[in-house]
Amino acid sequence: MLLPFLFGAAVLIIVPGGITLSLAFAQYDGLAPPRWVGLHNFRSLFVDPLTFIAISNTSLFVALTVPLRVLAALVLALLLHRPARGVGIYRAAVYLPTIIPGVAYALIWLWVLNPVSGPLNLVLAALGMPTPAWLAESRTALPALVAAGLFQLGESFVVLLAGLHAIPRDYYQAALIDGADRRQILRTITLPLLAPWLMLVVMRELIVSVQSSFTPALLMTGGGPYYATLFLPQLIYETAFDRFRFGDAAALTLITLLGLGLGLLLLHRAAGGWGYADET
């Protein structure tokens, strides 16, 4: 009964992974048979300024998105995990943007962020605040994309809710009897016990955020203005499917994966383990 799953996974994930790995060292346009070229793809990528623009944009996007989303999900989970009347409705509302299809979500934000008639700038103007051109300006385009994506944090929110729920009630009662105040409880009980869950969420957000830039960037800015929102997934997509340079695209994919691996390694270092307090 496991066979269909294992077979499907082999054909759809493991074999493709192998193909990417080997194509990175070959020249292939989809017509002539692939030709082994060693590190040539990487060398030509490293003289292309677009590669560096995409790498630095992607890094910036990830560096802004991951902490903001995890922090927001944590604050919302801490606020909404208590049993209270109507809390289910609040939780559902927080989850709502997460289920909106990516294309519809991007189109909605395209309208919300419209510099002239978008509701955000109408509100800002009514409050007498500055109204930047958001997506049309290279300085604000990337932060605007980050902000738009911030609301789709439902999955991390639910994982953290489950984590908070797994903390035994007795701990809190014992702390209250010992006279701990809310901040002490948060620092010494809640956060340490939530650490493994937080780690899981950070790792997931890290992996997801690299590719989650694709749909919004393609639909909302097309990578512009002046490459200000050109991210690695879009560059891979264009290299492979517009220019048919499959070898270069595979090499770029490999670079993306290496960068992601580096990010996870740094995270592991920074956290000093995978989040379990008894791990050394």
Partner: protein, 271 residues
Amino acid sequence: MPMKRSLLRAGGFHALAGAITLLFCVPFVWVLVVSLRQPGLAPPQQIEWLPNPAAWSNYPTIFAMLPLGNYLLNSLSVVLISVPLTRLVAAWAGYALARLPERAALILIALAVGLRMVPATSLWLPRFLLFSQASLIDTFGALIAPALMGTSPFYVLLFYWAFRRIPAEIFESGRLDGAGAFGGWARLGMPLVGPTAVTVAVLCFVHYWSDFINPLLYLKSDHNYTLAVGLRMLQQLDPTGWPLLMAAAVVMIMPVLALFVLVQKAFVGRI
């Protein structure tokens, strides 16, 4: 005195939570309002809370402007094939994992988690090459293919957790009564994991309904487009066409939203 304080605190909580709810939901209310605005009018100069008069005709208009009915049908076909297929494969795999000895199951679970971590970006290109070899490009086959592996290892794990909660004795007695592996799964296992089966079906529906990247990569001809890629065409409309664009977005969101409202307890209620 403490009574009053706790009341005050509860009030503060609801005010804060209400504000958050507003922040997360107001954009969708705006979208609904704009989708009913008269198209062709100059863009509004201030926030409008009610369209005046409501142009319900925007909805028929977009169906006439784009082959939206065709896109809808394509999306529905993809969903109708891939959701049951996913449920079958994922439930089988989850059931088998739950019946395996602990050690073997653990290794396979580690594998499933590892597979879940593979970034989708790295699969676009090789899958394209594989699908062209299998002449699946520009067919729904390319979109449905992931259902063959249960769409996501996560769904397999959901079923595994659900089947693990069922006492082994139930299946043992089933085996003595002459039920094979498949019989035990169908007659004893599945009826006991209803909520999980519903959750997986909903997640899977949302996944295929929203899928933008796969149709973008693997479909070529306009008549095969699903709603997600079809909607991209509307992006070129100028600001006076916003109401039509938002009406199309509403068409795409509504089925997902309706499902979510029906089963939201499965997501956030029971925790």
